[in-house]
Symmetry: C2
Subunit: 422 residues, 2 copies
Amino acid sequence: MTHVVVLGGGFGGLWAARALRKAPVRVTLVDRRNHHLFQPLLYQVATAALNPSNIAVPIRRILRRQRNAAVALAEAVSVDVARRRVILSDGEIGYDHLIVAVGARHSYFGRDEWAVHAPGLKSIEDALDIRRRVFLAFETAELHPDRRREWMTFAIVGGGPTGVELAGALAEISRFTLAADFRTIDPREARILLLEGGDRVLSSLHPDLSAKAERDLRRLGVEVRTKARVTAVDERGVAVGDERIPARTVLWAAGIAASPLLRSLGAPLDRAGRVKVTPELVLPGHADVFVVGDAAYVESDGKPVPGLAPAAIQEGVHAARNVLRALCGEPLLPFRYEDRGILATIGRAAAVADIRGLRLSGLVAWLTWVFVHIFFLIGFRNRFIVMFEWVLAYLTFDRGARLITGDARSILPPPDTSVRRP
Amino acid sequence: MTHVVVLGGGFGGLWAARALRKAPVRVTLVDRRNHHLFQPLLYQVATAALNPSNIAVPIRRILRRQRNAAVALAEAVSVDVARRRVILSDGEIGYDHLIVAVGARHSYFGRDEWAVHAPGLKSIEDALDIRRRVFLAFETAELHPDRRREWMTFAIVGGGPTGVELAGALAEISRFTLAADFRTIDPREARILLLEGGDRVLSSLHPDLSAKAERDLRRLGVEVRTKARVTAVDERGVAVGDERIPARTVLWAAGIAASPLLRSLGAPLDRAGRVKVTPELVLPGHADVFVVGDAAYVESDGKPVPGLAPAAIQEGVHAARNVLRALCGEPLLPFRYEDRGILATIGRAAAVADIRGLRLSGLVAWLTWVFVHIFFLIGFRNRFIVMFEWVLAYLTFDRGARLITGDARSILPPPDTSVRRP
């Protein structure tokens, strides 16, 4: 039986595998994680509003009833397109058709050494790391009030949806959630900076919505700086142009760098490392290999398809259908992106939405955002719990997952022998 | 103002701090974790039924409204009783009265090198480590069917409540939760061993209840072995006497070793390293230092007070009251343990309970267990979500938190270059 291998269990890969559920093929989905992650809500794990498992479901569980699909927990290192084999960190796997949906990470614009000081937000571990850093910063400020200024300054680099959402959530945490919890510091004095290199936040939306988002952020107390080019990041802070900003917590939400695995495909890549596929989502020169989601660069109606979950889903399904067309000897169809809109939330009852030209903001946009995200979550359990958490957070300003977890040394404030407590 | 320092935010320490809420004292609670942990349900995090934050609440959040209490996230290393100072890993803190509630860990009976192969269950990190090991074992068996026997054998050392609960939960995971999720293995074939050194499980309960628990475990498919003395533990398995049992997952639920910090108090310790306190819970020779919970050895009505949450709570409150009596110049009162009963759950609708001589088993005991644990959880949010998770798990046999998370290398099956996948 024809063997279709899908690399990656994100939106593109998972929907590709599911689209093959009634096909006369054998499907193997390979992922180095055991779970599919609902990335649009990952910032809520980083900011203690949700638990990891509310937005992450075992891939094996999702495909349980799809009897033609197997799941392999393994790391794909490269693809040998000539021999039709995927090279794993531990073994190999052969394919007849391959759908590559390996996603992307953040790009530090050639300064990868910044990553250790300014973590990005792509995995559950990233989110728990950010959560730990944020809450530990307040704990450290409480213990060392003389250094509270730098510990209570949070810089977020990148004014796209993730950066905006992180900044809004951090503002709410400091203004509301933690307001009464400390004795020597006032968390409401925390300084939250959103640093965007371009001339407006949410640049993929209409300028009116960018302006509204910026206004909502300022209302929450976020300092929004546009045209702010980050020139240095280290343990103690960040530099914007020549200005040095002491900030013990720097979060990275900028740039995109596709998976290094794609280099092994031998096809031209764009600047972000994405494969320039044919309109049919095919790897040029290899009709048996498809590339989808953040791993692919493709245009639709003359515009690049954006790196959004709905686009990855549409591409995954389209690639699966093209695999079936190839099996039947039918010609492949070009991909056409159906733009269902774009949403970004800022905080409590504040969001912006651009739905096929209909521009919403404030409460209406926020409710749209809430219901769209609940709807697309996988599983009754998660929908119910996330809805419950959001209602409770709305009523109480509290956040349910304010845990500092990790290695024994990383969950304590950093030592400071100069300080002697009373 | 008199400064009362409480070491440890577990049951003993947290209830001690709360009991001082109306007292004319200043309270500082020191813990190296930012959260109070509801340990009786920790095995449910390890077995993917609950999320960490369902059973862990920031100590700072709990004491938010207690204005005379401050919380310090710091590690206490030792106590200088002569100078009345607690030595932290980063600084010092002085006290007028000290309540030591630093708890205990597992004891490996002098074989600490076993710890790396057979993790215990005392912290959130422990629970997530066990969860990772358990689910990764099934993933590895799926990828390497030739070695599935050792990967699908789980040995639990220690037949107390934690061991019984872990064994029951692992049986349910393999028999029900995972039954349909794999393609090359049948999770129902998993072998689960409960190894108890004594002659019955749950030895602190009446022998009739031990027998019932053992019967319920066997019904779930757990191999219960009593008088099983573990003589070796390594990466590949465990030895019982001279018999070697290949088992890639070994969990430790035996023994108790109190915190090494207690040695600095200079008082006699029992074999488990607990301080032998006076009947007033006072450190012998130091009327300003109290020791409670798993850190203390004390008798009540001629019997040792057991290492249970209700006992720690009662001792914490009693120590706080004795502090206040000391401040008023009143004589200290001896501690008397009020035995409210003991409960242990085995699985779905199966538990045993011994409540002041009333011995329950089966569904009645299980419902008692459910309601007692919901009642003692902190916070409406957690009570509601845990109840919801349990109802859903009861109806569907599913578990909501089956995530494998951790370091990049630890979340993949271990490499095996001898195997080449098709």
